[in-house]
């Protein structure tokens, strides 16, 4: 009989097997045996957050920026319930997370014991799968499977709930190596792409005179090679391309074929192209309601192709004409190969076909929908993001955001050239995501510039994680567009509720410069446009964490926008467009 291992040891054995280097967490009574074992595993570093939600978002930022699964370790009861927001966020945005939670000992389950909650029950709808380990002999197998489920197919969070007695119990450690290691989005079962599918796609592309690529987070999740293939496909075809919020960075943001982000706060040219196109090629996006607007009038004249690794994403919101269930990276590679082999001269022979389309697009571009009225007296938030971009684009910068107006301005005005550089909470829209996510990104990329473009309301939700950044000497930059309002809430109240700014103004904000000093990091404030560049440079050159209080115009609204219930061709471009009265019907739909 070989050496016996405790449950806690087995947890680390499997983490080591999966080459986990960092875990984010917070200790407590029901996980103490696992924390006790930490000292014996030098290759695994634990990052102590200040709240389990922070640990969860940090793990998300780590995963999204590195392509590796994020690992989260929390205790029972409140530890697990605090992690629920991060798990749900990861579920919505397809981020691979493995959450290990402690549980009260097996014999106390169901007795309302101290710090007991039904963790697997609570997390069932916000994980791809979860397990309550009732027998230590199952632990290794379950832990290993947890990694496989989190990282294959459409990635997402999983949770393994381990009662305290199971962490102490000893058994043999056997890990069958039959599980092949697969990373993000590499689905095993759907690996084959038929050549007839490819030919059908190419035929539709050839027939189209108004094509558009509509790409999403699936391209990012499929790995950096998928982004490379996407760029090749666009250059092989000369088709215009637009991207969802989550897909930014898969295609260079400053390329002339890129129309900018689409959707509710997308560009005029992207949304009008989506409305008027005759062929839409959706690659790794999910027809989210922020994208489609009114479903009945969504892109009425187009044939639609949808490539997605998740079969349930196809046909869920929008009917499509051609569906391909596949990892988008493998699909793009195969499609490029087919085009190069069989349709060598596609770009030139097709140029005439789509030249009128590009003229239409150029007309829409002339509207300059992202323009705004700049000011010499007050910092416009869009201007702040533009300056931040100009002053940080010469280095490999990672951007996270919170949720709200600042998030949309960041998406509109910061141009991404590489995948995995943009971390934002899109599906769940979690205020407080960006700061802890920046912590996780900086752990994965210690030498890179990591900036959280934040709003003052969002950032206060998880501000405690500054303490984590200081403890681990993570030089994250928290760039707060401080307008003293929950800006997006205020914008909607202006549009829908007769400027009744009910509870959206924060009357007693902290002094962010002093707050930074209290945390032991650097505080910088900018109030005038002419000092912005100098202050931003000061922030970038600071080797410590920084909280940057950028005082911006409190009344600025985020444009362009599609009012919901409207199709893509009816956008509001600026303040002049919003004068019309809002119907009662419209109000009830919020």
């Amino acid at each position: 009989m070989g050496k016996l291992f405790s449950g806690a040891e087995i947890v680390f054995k499997v983490l080591e097997h999966h080459k986990v280097e960092h875990i984010f967490g917070y200790p407590g009574g029901a996980v103490l045996p696992i924390y006790d074992e930490l000292k014996n595993h030098k290759t695994i570093k634990h990052i102590l957050a200040r709240h389990e939600q922070g640990a969860g978002h940090a793990a998300e930022g780590y995963a999204r920026s590195s392509g590796k699964p994020g690992v989260l370790l929390v205790t029972s009861g409140p530890g697990a319930t605090n992690a629920v927001t991060a798990l749900t966020d990861a579920y919505m945005d397809s981020v691979p997370l493995v959450c290990i939670s402690g549980q009260v000992p097996t014999h106390l389950i169901g007795t309302d014991a101290f710090q007991e909650c039904d963790t697997t029950g609570i997390t069932r709808p916000c994980t791809k799968h979860n397990w309550l380990v009732k027998d230590v002999n199952d632990l290794a197998k379950i832990m290993d499977l947890a990694f496989e489920v989190a990282t294959t197919g459409r990635p997402g969070p999983v949770l393994v709930d381990i009662p305290k007695d199971i962490q102490f119990k000893k058994t043999n450690f056997v890990l069958k190596s039959s599980n092949k290691k697969k990373l993000n989005g590499k689905s095993s079962s759907n690996g084959k792409i038929s050549s007839s599918d490819l030919d059908n796609v190419i035929n539709l592309m050839k027939k189209s005179s108004k094509p558009i690529f509509y790409t999403g987070g699936g391209v990012i999740n499929s790995g950096p090679d998928a982004s490379k293939s996407l760029r090749e496909l666009v250059s092989l075809t000369g088709f215009p391309i637009t991207s969802t919020l989550q897909g930014l960075g898969a295609y260079p943001g400053d390329d002339p074929l890129f129309l900018g982000m689409l959707g509710m706060h997308g560009t005029y040219e992207a949304n009008n192209s989506m409305y008027s196109c005759d062929l839409m090629i959706n690659i790794g996006a999910r027809f989210d309601d922020r994208i489609t607007g009114k479903v009945d009038e969504f892109s009425p004249k187009s044939k639609k192709i949808h490539v997605d690794i998740d079969p349930s994403s196809i046909g869920k919101n929008i009917k499509v004409d051609l569906a391909v269930v596949s990892d988008v990276g493998s699909f793009l590679k195969a499609l490029n190969k087919r085009i190069k082999e069989k349709h060598k001269d596609f770009l030139n022979s097709n140029k005439q076909n789509i030249s009128k389309w590009w003229k239409d697009i150029d007309k829409w571009r002339q509207k300059k929908s992202l323009s705004f009225k700049n000011s010499k007296e007050v910092i416009k938030p869009q201007y702040a993001v533009q300056r931040l971009y100009e002053l940080s684009k010469n280095q490999d910068t990672y951007i996270t955001t919170e949720v709200g107006q600042h998030q949309m301005w960041a998406a509109q005005h910061y141009k991404f050239n590489k995948p995995n550089r943009w971390m934002t909470s899109g599906g769940l829209g979690t205020m407080g995501y960006g700061l802890p996510a920046a912590v996780g990104v900086q752990i994965a990329h210690p030498d890179k510039l990591v900036i959280d473009i934040a709003g003052e309301a969002s950032v206060l939700m998880t501000m405690q994680e500054m303490s984590t950044a200081v403890q681990y000497k993570l030089p994250i930059k928290i760039f707060i567009l401080n307008n003293q309002y929950m800006g997006m809430v205020r914008q909607w109240q202006e549009l829908l509720h007769e400027k009744n700014y009910s509870e959206s103004y924060t009357a007693a904000l902290p002094d962010f410069v002093k707050l930074a000093q209290a945390y032991g990091c650097v505080g910088i404030q900018a109030t005038k446009p002419d000092e912005l560049d100098e202050k931003i440079n000061e922030m970038i050159n600071t080797k410590e964490p920084v909280i940057f209080d950028c005082r911006v115009d409190p009344a600025e609204n985020c444009f362009p926008m599609i009012p919901s219930g409207k199709p893509h061709n009816q956008m509001l471009l600026g303040p002049e467009d919003e004068k019309e009265e809002v119907s009662d019907e419209g109000k009830t739909l919020v």
């Binding site: 079969p311 919901s564 419209g586």
Partner: protein, 182 residues
């Protein structure tokens, strides 16, 4: 239409709702029924009846039969979402009026009434494969197997005849002929 500036879009046109029987083969493990039922409630799908039991003792496979209704796209989503669950092996879907499928539901009725009414009740059950399982001086318990709507109708008939308790299993289904669902 008046101008709407809502943060959410309005509901689109709805397709026609139809009845389907969904059969799901799952690993018989803790929480599996909660996963399936939770998927239905969480996504707003409808469950009219649900029948479940282990059908393979060696492999611990349970067979769940769910009667549901929804538009064609909702039914398609139900199937695709079910297939994503880790313990789910396969999912079959039958229209309720599919002639190649057998549907049956078992019901137990307790009748307490006069001799005359008990005789009437027993007669009403006769064509549904009925068995009297228990008898006393003024009551009996009878078992029938029939289609859901036949049982619905039978309950209406039996109510004035002294029906005091009803227990139904929910529908189970199987294909006709030698074929099995792969």
């Amino acid at each position: 239409m008046s101008k709407s500036k809502s943060a959410y879009s309005e509901p689109g046109k709805l397709g026609k709702s139809e009845h389907h029987i969904i059969v799901v083969w799952v690993d018989n493990e803790a929480g599996v029924l909660a996963r399936v039922a939770g998927l239905f409630s969480g996504r707003g799908y409808n469950i009219e009846s649900l029948a479940v039991a282990e059908v393979d003792k060696k492999k611990h496979i349970s067979r769940i039969t769910i009667v549901t209704s929804g538009t064609p796209s909702v039914i398609e989503q139900i199937k695709l979402q079910l297939k994503k669950l880790i313990p789910v092996h396969k999912v079959a879907d039958f229209k309720r009026n599919d002639p190649n499928i057998l549907f049956k539901e078992l019901a137990l009725f307790k009748i307490v009434s006069s001799k005359k009414n008990r005789e009437k009740a027993q007669k009403a059950c006769k064509k549904y494969n009925s068995f009297v399982l228990d008898k006393s001086k003024n009551s009996f318990v009878i078992q029938v197997t029939a289609l859901r709507r036949e049982i619905d109708k039978l309950i209406e008939t039996l109510s004035p005849l002294g029906l005091v308790s009803t227990s139904r299993t929910g529908a189970v289904a199987m294909t006709r002929g030698a074929e099995i669902f792969k």
